[in-house]
């Protein structure tokens, strides 16, 4: 990951305090109601209660097995439950700590409610908890935003660190794409008239708290399917173990030797066989996945959205900011025949002095760098700036009689022709050459003469090409979205290594593209910030809205990126995949473990009836009791050992599906078979050392 984040409130995974809290929660979570939600762990719960009763019975002298044996099995069964609870509590703990911090920033404030949407309207002081959608409030410097809203009048600098963790203040102003404000942030200077857009309890902050707390965390479709699979395995093993008692009773009669299997051993076998490892860690994996999103400063509205991110087939990426560094930069002046380059640079700078866009600034800077032409303060009256409009698509300056303009090729051509002139073919060719290279030509004119061309170039972000190659290996297609003409777009697309591009993109074209891809039954992810992105965001399967974006964009998306970094989309996809991979790997591991447990328990369980079965005791475990106990202890301890993996997630590698499966099968499938053989043997040796065997 090349991007770095400022986590919302630097909560680390293994804080002492968090662990202590999680331990306390592990006991609270032992309530049957909590346990019932997870079929696998509920079976363990019932088993633990049963062996406890068997132990009590043994204490009265009527035990079915040695009291000490039942005691230790019981203890470790309860530990199995506690470890599972601990994993969940620890995963939740981090979220809870973050939620607490967030809640701190959601104080009930007294808002200045306005009777009408302008600054000087009559003010009623209203608690923020009583504000409703459509109310207007005035927020002045030093005051806290009483709720989510849209700036209607004014501009102000706002401290949003409570939400984003980013301490640099941001500008919020009416109109445009920077009009959204979030409750809990603080106005640092000036004032804003804000139209409230959410009712109390439904604000962004509320949703964020609910998400990180896991309160609104419902099981995702994939989790439900996996739970069904785990329930199936649990049911199969439950039946296999329950019927073992009659089989054993029959075998004792038929063989005329030994004693039937005890309930304690049956329960131990059952708990070892059912997929407790994944059952215990399943909810922790889900919570941790959401948590990873939050630490990447992305707030997802649901776990479903995170999961869908892993399935994305097509990424729509805005060129600007995602693929290229923010903005185009002027890199060269190319004068028309008979025009001095210095004169061109001078005219270009004059035309750009009032142009506050990054492109405009870069022209001024380039002229200064190349020819030492200093920025000039043009006296008022002498100079009249001509701003860019959608109609003319040109900007410039009138100084006295000089009329300097700069604009795109077709706009300038039209301008010259309407003034009875024309663009020299050579200049046109220069411009087209520039466009073909993927750069943007800006034609500079004075009066009706074309002076030459400014070359504006997109700078492709370092390392982005490699990221796209990775995406391709993962089977994800990348499409660049740009307002540029097809020629320019093609050149940048080739340089950045995206699979496809949409040039001269309008919001409608974007929406159409998304619908077209979805009609092929592929999932689309995109990010956007402007209000005009909202329809596309609403249509996309995974839609990341920038936090700096408009309220409309934020509501249309199913995730909000607090860092407003469009590259984050790639990371979101990876986190989605990682969550699924972690679940799959631990399921495989859990089931693979059963092989070794059989070899430990089966010979031990029937040792008295068929001593010949001891040939299956390949681990050479000391006694039947130590064998069973070792398996139970291993089964409990492996949960603790795998908690870090569940919380951090299995490392995602950008490999094709086949290679990834081979790798994970080797590690978690084969590993899952081998590890318990070693683990159970070691525990058995320890038990012998402790004299518990």
């Amino acid at each position: 990951m090349t991007t770095t984040h400022t986590p919302v409130h630097g909560v680390r995974s293994f804080d002492r305090e968090l662990i202590l809290k999680a331990i306390a929660d592990s006991f609270l979570k032992l309530s049957p109601k909590q346990q019932f939600r997870n079929p696998v762990m509920f079976v363990v719960f019932v088993c633990s209660v049963l062996t406890t009763l068997l132990w009590v019975q043994a204490l009265t002298g009527h035990g079915e097995a040695p009291t000490g044996f039942i005691f230790w099995v019981t203890v470790w069964l309860w530990f199995t439950l506690l470890f599972a609870n601990f994993a969940e509590a620890l995963a939740e703990g981090r979220g809870k700590a973050q939620a607490a911090a967030l809640r701190g920033s959601r104080r009930d404030v007294v808002a200045k409610r306005l009777a009408a949407p302008y600054k000087d309207a009559a003010i009623t002081y209203t608690p923020s908890s009583e504000l409703r959608v459509g109310h207007h409030v005035l927020v002045e410097a030093g005051e806290q935003m009483p709720g989510d809203g849209e700036v209607v009048v004014g501009a102000a600098s706002v401290d949003e660190s409570a939400i984003t963790g980013e301490s640099a203040p941001v500008i919020r102003e009416s109109g445009g794409d920077r009009s959204a404000v979030t409750g809990g942030t603080r106005v640092l200077s000036d004032w804003l008239v804000v139209r409230i857009t959410s009712n109390p309890g439904e604000s962004f902050l509320d949703r964020m708290i609910a998400m990180v707390e896991g309160a609104s965390r419902r099981k995702t479709p994939n989790e439900i399917a996996l739970t069904i699979l785990l329930a199936k395995f649990t049911l199969i093993f439950l039946l296999a173990c329950a019927t073992l008692l009659p089989y054993s009773i029959y075998s004792v009669q038929a063989a005329g030797a030994g004693n039937p299997i005890t309930l304690t051993v049956l329960v131990a076998l059952l708990v070892c066989l059912i997929p407790t490892t994944i059952g215990a860690l399943l909810s922790a994996i889900g919570i941790a996945g959401m948590d990873r999103m939050i630490r990447a400063n992305v707030i997802a509205t649901s776990g479903r959205a995170v999961e869908a991110a892993g399935d994305v087939d097509v990424l729509l990426l805005d060129k600007t900011g995602t693929i290229t560094l923010g903005n185009r930069q002027a890199v060269a002046f190319m004068p028309a025949p008979g025009v001095d380059e210095h004169a061109l640079a001078d005219a270009a700078q004059l035309a750009s002095l009032a142009d506050e866009t990054p492109e405009g600034r870069s022209v001024v800077v380039l002229a200064k760098e190349r020819f030492g032409i200093r920025e000039r303060q043009l006296e008022e009256g002498h100079a009249e700036f001509v701003p860019f409009t959608a109609q003319t698509r040109m900007s410039g300056v009138n100084i006295g009689t000089r009329q300097i303009r700069k604009g795109a090729l077709d706009a300038v051509e039209r301008y010259l022709e309407s003034n009875g002139s024309h663009l020299p073919p050579l200049v046109k060719r220069m411009a087209e050459d520039i466009a073909r290279r993927g750069a943007t030509p800006l034609i500079v004119t004075e009066g009706v003469a074309a002076l030459g061309v400014i070359e504006l170039k997109d700078i492709v972000k370092g390392g982005i090409r490699e990221r796209f190659a990775e995406m391709r290996r993962m089977g994800i297609k990348t499409i660049m979205i740009t307002g540029d003409n097809p020629l320019t777009a093609a050149a940048i697309a080739a340089e950045a290594g995206v699979d496809d591009f949409l040039a001269e993109a309008t919001p409608e074209a974007k929406l159409k593209l998304i619908r077209k891809i979805q009609a092929e039954n592929r999932l689309v992810a995109m990010c956007g910030d402007g209000t005009n992105d909202a329809p596309a965001l609403a249509q996309a399967d995974v839609a990341v809205a920038m936090n700096t974006g408009t309220q409309a964009a934020k509501e249309a998306g199913n995730m909000v990126d607090l860092d407003s970094n469009p590259t984050k989309l790639i990371e979101v996809v990876e986190i989605g995949k990682q969550m699924l991979i972690t679940r799959g790997s631990l399921t495989t591991f859990s089931i693979a473990n059963d092989v070794a447990k059989y070899f430990a328990i089966i010979p031990a369980a029937f040792a008295t009836t068929y001593p010949a079965l001891n040939a299956l005791n390949v681990m050479k475990l000391a006694t039947p009791q130590s064998a069973i106990l070792s398996a139970v202890i291993f089964n409990a301890l492996i949960i603790i050992f795998l908690i870090p993996l569940a919380l951090k997630g299995v490392k995602y590698r950008a490999l094709g599906a086949g290679a990834l499966l081979r790798r994970n099968l080797l590690v978690y499938g084969l590993g899952g078979i081998v590890v318990p053989f070693i683990g159970i043997k070691l525990i058995d040796m320890l038990l012998v050392l402790c004299g518990l065997a």
């Binding site: 399917a225 009659p246 029959y250 592929r522 799959g584």
Partner: protein, 600 residues
Amino acid sequence: MTTFDIFQVVLFLGVLLVLVKPVGAYMAMAFSDTPNGVNRVGGKLERGLYRLAGVRSDEQMGWRRYAIAMLVFNMLGLFAVYALQRVQQWLPLNPQHFDALSPDLAMNTAISFASNTNWQAYGGESAMSYLTQMLGLAVQNFLSAATGIAVLLAVVRGFTRRSTDSVGNFWVDMTRSTLYVLLPFSLVIALLLSSQGVVQNFKAYVDVPLVQHTTAVETVKDAAGNTVKDASGKDVTKQTTVTTQTLPMGPAASQIAIKQLGTNGGGFFNANSAHPYENPTPFSNFIEMLAIFLIPGGLCYTFGSMVGDRRQGWAILATMLLIFIPLALGAIAAEQAGNPALHGLAVDQQASALQAGGNMEGKETRFGIAASGLFATVTTAASCGAVNAMHDSLTPLGGLVPMWLMQLGEVIFGGVGSGLYGMLAFAVVAVFIAGLMVGRTPEYLGKKIEAHEMKMASLAVLVPCALVVICTAIAVMTPAGVAGVANPGAHGFSEVLYAVSSAANNNGSAFGGLSANTPFWNVLLGVCMYLSRFLLAIAMLAMAGSLAAKRHVPPSAGTLPTHTPLFITLLACVVVVVGALTFLPALALGPIAEFLMSVR
């Protein structure tokens, strides 16, 4: 194991693999709606049958309607077979004047044949009239096999159809399976078998004088069934000299062809394919084994062809072979190794030019070790259940293989149609686990596998497993169940476990040693057979319905390929692991304990 043993296995698999493609391609044409060579020839007859039955062949059914049609149709067949057995004494073609069967036996048999299990608690030549055999049992052999194919076709359509609620027309699928596949194939096999000497007539049984008389000694029993003792307290015995033998006759060849082809397995005679009139020569034995695998193997190719990616079909076939080959070789090796109890005694168990060697107890000398061991694995891998050797007499490990193959859910080739749809349920589970491990919502053949599919696939895997363990427990806990067990110890347990595994997986082969024609066993196994067959089929149809309603997801580089050696291995592992983990404790108390005690 001898080279000749291996040669026979290689030859069998070689011929099978050569036949898979032509047979599979033919069936793909036969089931297709588009005009082709098959329906050009048979279309007229097919349409005539629809008119006769009032079936609108272009009508499409949702999965529920399809399932109801399937259930009702099979229930009618079940009642017909039951009725035939109960009134056969008044009907023609009963030269031996067999009486009606008892209600529990008739019910067991009716379910058995309707569910493609063909568990036989009766002896064919001593209980069934020719009419019952032909009109009841043989007809059900065709219809139950066709039902399996029909359900499979619906399941495959679930994968191929997009955004629709229909899975096909049950009547059309039944007609085409029977008319184009089962009938012509049976005709060929029946002719081949009768060329080898399998009987086909309506004669009464023939008494022939024995070349060599034998003498039987039996204890005399009184009216109450107690042995009569003489004055010194010894049992009173009676000597009988046998001079004649009764040779059963009947229309066997026509019924045996479909018994093998339709993976039914219900023999015309009690000894099934060990009987010389049912399976006279090594060549007829080869044909019978081939007939068992022919359609299940060919359907893999048909499946690939129907989903538009033949590699998918080959992958499923490869998975089946990956499990089948080691088990077949293991069973043959165990039998060839002989009986450890005879080691060190003056018994020669070595293979030589004069003898097959190994454990020949319960085997026919005309087949020997390999052809018996291979037949046992073939008949239990597929849910056929015909036997050419007594499985009760197999060595512990040799007997473990057939038992475990059934417990795997009859998906290694399995029943006609049902084996493949069972395997597809496992494939869904495998795809789900594998899909998670590559970080995508799992999809199989372009369809997303979600909670509903998981539920139905789990049900399909769970039902037979649950029936086996629960009903075995019921049997060993009830005096009526234990009463039928012939042998003590682990072997007795194996007899019970085998019988229940056979019924609950719709195999129908018998281990022997268990007296199963009692009301208890007839009812218990009848329930097993019915629930397993139809619950599983309904679950798969429900899955087909939900799959058909889904959109198709085009594959990308992130999609897990399901035709690679890696996936084949994974699928085989899932089948084996579920089978092993579920049944290992039970097997440990049966064949494994028996084996370990025998080698001590």
